[in-house]
């Protein structure tokens, strides 16, 4: 228990520091960009005469704001559905359907942008740069999956995140990664998180959003991109056939935050409701090494629901009429 409580204390300290930093960041309204040039006498309508009217310059509007709000609502809805499917319905098939639907919408239709993973950078900049304007939609995208994680675990990862979804669909023959290696590689997430924040906090205009730059799958979503990023994305997918969801487990900086938050979750995936058989079928079925001592480890469990399918006691639970 001792390492756990010391970890929690560290967490508390970090959050306390967070709270202190936000006490002194004044809000500033960003300026419009006026273009200064020497004023000359360009002919006006009356100079030209003959009923001439200066043609209007078009200012096309961006994608409707309500559609961006819709994205947030759909995000929340998808996570709610994921929680409900995994904790209540306990069905792998429905999780798969949700995964594909979210991949289609958030991945290929919205081209993976705006995403909660990248929002870490925006939030980091917004907290330190008084002139940076962060859209409310991005704030929502940052906090919603974390809130869900605090209560229910990594529901975002299971079925909603398009980067996860694409890797989820290529899992073929996952190998078991030795525990020590798994823990060590898992630390890379936090290193990437730190680097991402550090690069994002470079003074404007040098903000370098490395998460966006090195997103391995955005090239597939946009169906265009730098050759080297497409190769890396392809390599991740090939790797993903044999090592379950390598980006999610070892690199995703947001996954690092979600892992912290899911430690606090009250409810999470419970494989069998009463007692384990010690058969180990669930551990074998979990491609992500998230099952320890027949229990799902909340910080690693990616909500894929494969364990239910393989648990001999879990299945009667699904079929029992009074659940």
């Amino acid at each position: 228990m001792s390492p756990r409580s010391s970890r929690r204390r560290t967490l508390r300290i970090i959050y306390a520091i967070f709270l202190l930093t936000l006490l002194w960041a004044p809000a500033a309204a960003p300026q419009a960009i006026p273009y200064e040039r020497p004023v000359e006498a360009a002919p006006q309508d009356e100079d030209i005469g003959e009923g001439y009217v200066t043609p209007e310059v078009q200012r096309p509007l961006p994608r409707s704001y309500w559609l961006e709000i819709l994205d947030v609502i759909l995000l929340a809805l998808a996570m709610a559905i994921a929680v409900w499917i995994v904790l209540s319905e306990r069905s792998r098939k429905w999780v798969l359907a949700l995964t594909i639907a979210c991949l289609a919408y958030f991945g290929f239709y919205r081209e993976g942008c705006v995403c909660p993973i990248g929002s870490i950078q925006n939030v980091a900049v917004a907290l330190t740069d008084a002139e940076y304007s962060i859209p409310i939609v991005v704030i929502a995208m940052f906090f919603l999956p974390l809130l869900v994680a605090i209560f229910f675990g990594r529901a975002f990862c299971g079925g909603v995140c398009p980067l996860g979804a694409i890797q989820e669909l290529v899992v073929l023959k996952p190998v078991r990664v030795p525990r020590r290696l798994d823990s060590a590689l898992g630390l890379l997430k936090y290193v990437y998180l730190g680097l991402a924040i550090w690069f994002a906090l470079q003074p404007a205009p040098g903000h370098d959003f490395v998460i966006c730059r090195f997103d391995p799958f955005v090239g597939f979503f946009r169906q265009t991109g730098f050759a080297h990023m497409l190769y890396i994305g392809g390599a991740f997918l090939v790797l993903g056939m044999f090592v379950g969801r390598p980006y999610c487990r070892y690199l995703c900086p947001y996954g690092g935050l979600l892992a912290w938050c899911s430690r606090l979750a009250g409810r999470g995936v419970t494989i069998t409701p009463d007692k384990e058989l010690d058969c180990g079928l669930c551990s074998e079925s979990c491609p992500y090494g998230a099952i320890e001592e027949m229990r799902a480890v909340r910080k690693d469990c990616l909500y894929c629901a494969r364990c239910f399918d393989s648990c001999p006691r879990g299945r009667p639970l699904q079929e029992a009429p009074d659940e």
Binding site: L11, P60, V123, S133, I134, P135, I136
Partner: protein, 204 residues
């Protein structure tokens, strides 16, 4: 790890949630609705006064992740001189044809249309104002016309602008990272000024 919630867990959870709430409220207070990428005409090499290079900068065309760049040249007609021979429309260094006009056009995609205003005297076509209208479907933001229109050659009425209906709004605009003058920045959609109405600016 499963099931029971200890008191310490509850306190920690409460602290984290409070932290989230406070951070969230703080951010929301400074938040804006929608933000869009904009090009600052005073910094863009093609329209920045005093920066005269032989070649126009076409990074906006090349770097944008959208196939035909979301950046297009826009002619602000109220600032346009409506000249008979426009250096952005014609390639003024090309040979002069029998009509007294340069024989070649500047735009590689032929996106500018030249229209005489009013009746044209066939004996003296120079005695007219001409409107230059850019067809945005053809334009790809290469910046040649912008560079030619810039003072002192022209009046600087053509500038490169991000067309928001085409821009996908990347978190990290690919053009912004390579722009040598850092002309791209994200601004709240409402903060960008509306186009100025044609006004008499001659009493300077």
């Amino acid at each position: 790890m499963s099931g029971k919630i200890t008191r310490r867990d509850a306190i920690l959870k409460g602290t984290v949630l409070a932290g989230f709430a406070a951070t969230g409220v703080h951010l929301i207070k400074k938040a804006d609705g929608q933000i869009v990428w904009e090009i600052d005409g005073a910094k863009c090499i093609n329209s920045k006064l005093g920066e005269l290079t032989a070649e126009a900068c076409d990074l906006c065309t090349v770097e944008c992740v959208v196939t035909q760049s979301a950046v297009r040249a826009v002619n602000h007609h109220s600032e346009c001189g409506r000249c008979y021979i426009c250096p952005a429309y014609f390639k003024v260094t090309s040979a002069v044809d029998e009509n007294g006009l340069p024989s070649e056009k500047l735009c590689p995609r032929d996106a500018i249309e030249r229209k005489a205003i009013g009746w044209v005297d066939p004996e003296d076509p120079a005695n007219n104002f001409y409107d230059y209208i850019i067809d945005e479907e053809k334009c790809d933001g290469c910046g040649k016309c912008v560079m030619e229109c810039k003072e002192p050659a022209g009046l600087g009425s053509i500038r490169l602008e991000v067309r928001h209906n085409l821009c996908v709004g990347c978190n990290r605009c690919a053009i912004s990272t390579v722009c040598p003058n850092d002309a791209l920045s994200q601004l709240p959609a409402t903060a960008v000024p509306e186009p100025e109405p044609a006004e008499s600016e001659s009493q300077t």
